[in-house]
Symmetry: C2
Subunit: 426 residues, 2 copies
């Protein structure tokens, strides 16, 4: 069914309400352009803080806000909760899982990405990634249950206890580094105070990366600082190491087999099926190859932005898959559409690098702003400020800020709840 309200001229359609999609919707809404935002979730997620939900530091609602709330003040923008299953370029319409279709005059595809498993899709079951709130809550449950199980083991089962408390994180980018640090802290501070039979020596956190250093987007000196900070938290960093096999409870790193209770995947990128939907050319990660204005080379009315796009900077360098880049791309696509509607040509996209940072547990971080490189506590304070600033809603900013301050002062993890499927498991 076509939506009744959209008869007449077809609106601009945005697929996905992540950073890129929201930036586009805001720019189009501010100009009063009729726009429909389609997302399969009802909420926008501040993904850079998702690892804190997974490690029991924050609640889901602290880092997510309903899309309708965020876009409420833009009367020309409407929101549709549905899943896209295809795009008909000839009919200029988007096919929805509910059975309906949504026509468009121009289209912005910002459907994001999931983790890539290097042609081993079966690994996703044994080593899930964290991209959604449900992912994060499942991981939180697995982490906390591992502690509960290890606690009930008797002294004779000490070896099994060590296995029950081995956590492996695959991927040394910001997500992997932040997760490994947060898991180490959760295990050290919380477990040690509340689980009489678990000491920090029982807990093993391993961070695996195939490259020769962590955080490849940062300068080597900051990579080294991050590695030192992780080591001081007891995290075992294994560089130039590749995962060669994965099965439940066991991971093979090179020729070394490790028993692990929880393995988390934070490596690789596989874009959403946008390239198939559009019948467009894609790179090896499935990202749609776009032209200088972020539109399809053969269709200037269809834009692909954010993690779904393989875009190049005006200097030819690839645009990285980070939040600031996604925002800039979404905003640019909206401006290009406005230019087109006013009969002006679309300008080429220019990526402005805002810097890159990662936090490693309590009061340590690394940050590279181009003109300034920081590590340790100053970087951590900067990291906190920047992330609070960019949180979507003002309330969330307050709540997250209060939570962080509380955790900093008390070493408490406030959201240590085991939920979801709780009934069949205890």
């Amino acid at each position: 069914m076509a939506h009744a309200r959209l008869s007449g001229t077809a609106p601009v359609v945005i697929i996905g309400a992540g950073f890129a999609g929201l930036a586009a919707a805001r720019a189009l809404g501010a100009a009063g352009v009729a726009t429909v935002v389609i997302d399969k979730q009802n909420h926008h997620l501040f993904q850079p803080l998702l690892y804190q939900v997974a490690t029991a530091g924050l609640s889901a609602a602290d880092i997510a806000a309903p899309i309708r709330s965020i876009l409420r003040d833009l009367p020309s923008v409407s929101v549709l909760m549905d899943q896209v299953v295809g795009i008909d370029r000839t009919a200029r319409s988007v096919q929805l899982a509910s059975g309906g279709t949504q026509c468009f005059s121009q289209l912005i595809v910002a459907s994001g990405a999931r983790h890539g498993y290097f042609r081993n899709p079966g690994w996703a079951t044994h080593a899930p990634g964290i991209k959604t709130i449900d992912d994060a809550i499942r991981l939180r449950r697995d982490l906390l249950l591992a502690l509960e199980k290890a606690e009930t083991m008797r002294a004779e089962q000490r070896e099994t206890r060590a296995e029950h408390l081995t956590f492996v994180v695959v991927g040394g980018g910001p997500t992997g580094v932040e997760l490994a640090g947060a898991i180490a802290e959760l295990a050290r501070h919380t477990a040690e105070r509340e689980f009489p039979h678990i000491t920090r020596n029982c807990v093993r956190v391993v961070l695996v990366d195939s490259g020769d250093r962590l955080l490849k987007a940062l300068p080597p000196a900051l990579s080294a600082a991050a590695a030192r900070a992780l080591a001081s938290l007891g995290v075992e960093v294994r560089l130039q190491a590749r995962v060669t096999a994965l099965e439940p409870g066991r991971i093979m790193i090179g020729n070394d087999s490790l028993v692990a209770c929880v393995t988390i995947w934070a490596a690789g990128v596989a874009a959403s099926p946008a390239a198939q939907w559009l019948g467009a050319a894609a790179d090896s990660s499935g990202r749609v190859i776009v032209g200088p204005a972020l539109s399809l080379p053969d269709d200037p009315a269809i834009f692909v932005v954010g993690d779904t796009a393989a875009a190049a900077n005006s200097e030819g360098a690839p645009v990285p898959g980070v939040a600031t880049a996604a925002k800039q791309m979404g905003h640019h696509a909206a401006l290009a559409i406005l230019a087109h509607q006013q009969g002006r040509p679309a300008p080429p996209f220019r990526y402005r690098r805002r810097g890159s940072m990662a936090t490693i547990g309590r009061s340590r971080a690394v940050a590279d702003l181009g003109w300034l490189r920081l590590s340790g506590q100053p970087a951590w304070l900067l990291w906190c400020t920047v992330h609070l600033w960019f949180l979507a809603g003002f309330r969330n900013r307050l709540v997250v800020g209060a939570n962080w301050l509380w955790r900093y002062l008390t070493f408490e993890s406030s959201a240590r709840l085991i939920t979801q499927h709780g009934d069949d498991m205890t």
Copy 2:
């Protein structure tokens, strides 16, 4: 397996870390008595505010705290996350789902209750209750999805839209009244501002009770005040009405068949299977009949407290199934055990009535403290103060307080997230 640390004299075992179980653990821990608390969840839940999680006002972590955190400062108390599947009174041990057993010298059963379906267990699927965080998050998802679905319907489907927005709450006790009020407010304020196609007239909230008034624990004048407050929010109150049939999407009230997108059960009580575990006499709701000291008539070392017990006041009146009664009963069982260990006789339990209250949406409530009866805004302020005060952890108190203030000032529901099983549904 018996737990290694418990060799020697068997500890006191408490089954359940609700209000009753925690009160007992605190009293025993303060006296240094070796105690093991067993719960199938890792967290204590402040159930009186669970309806606010279900209606997107609060996050789960705002009203729940890890049992280990709560009892951390009591070194003689340990916590075991496991599910009880039986009790062997001869061997003095509790059987656990993990396959282990836990010996006890004295036992306090505080395993709570679920909703009762009047010999229609099949209804539980179509009209779930809310007793756990998972229940509440499932209901939140159903409520918010109903709004999203109704929003996408075209004008010609107006009738179906009304059906998609009919919510039925069964049971006119505090939970039912508070839920019905909160759903009506969620639908009115949030939906009306953010769903262009939903007006307050599309939304129908029906509260059904078989009795002749709501909130039977309160004086009739306050019941009437609650009914008026609900009516002013647009809630349809149906008294002396019985549910006669239930199927997916449809409920039969008396001879009247109603199409309803969501039906919530907040009526009846069915105690946990403690009576079967103990081979003890139970009342019609499955609650174990206990003696004046809250122990089994034939076993002074086994206590049953909280919603699991059918206890009578010293005047012979039944003790109600409310949080304050559960706390008093748990505390009493602990004192009786301490008395026994010191060779003193266990005193009989005396229930001290603390009053009863219920809130109906924004700034309306009813409260009966015995010496004081309030309705309207003064009762609401009292309700807020009392509930903040009794929240388990200091941090939660702060967060919930800030949340309430924020919602009061802005009409926002801060936790409006559709999560859990999100993947297969959109």
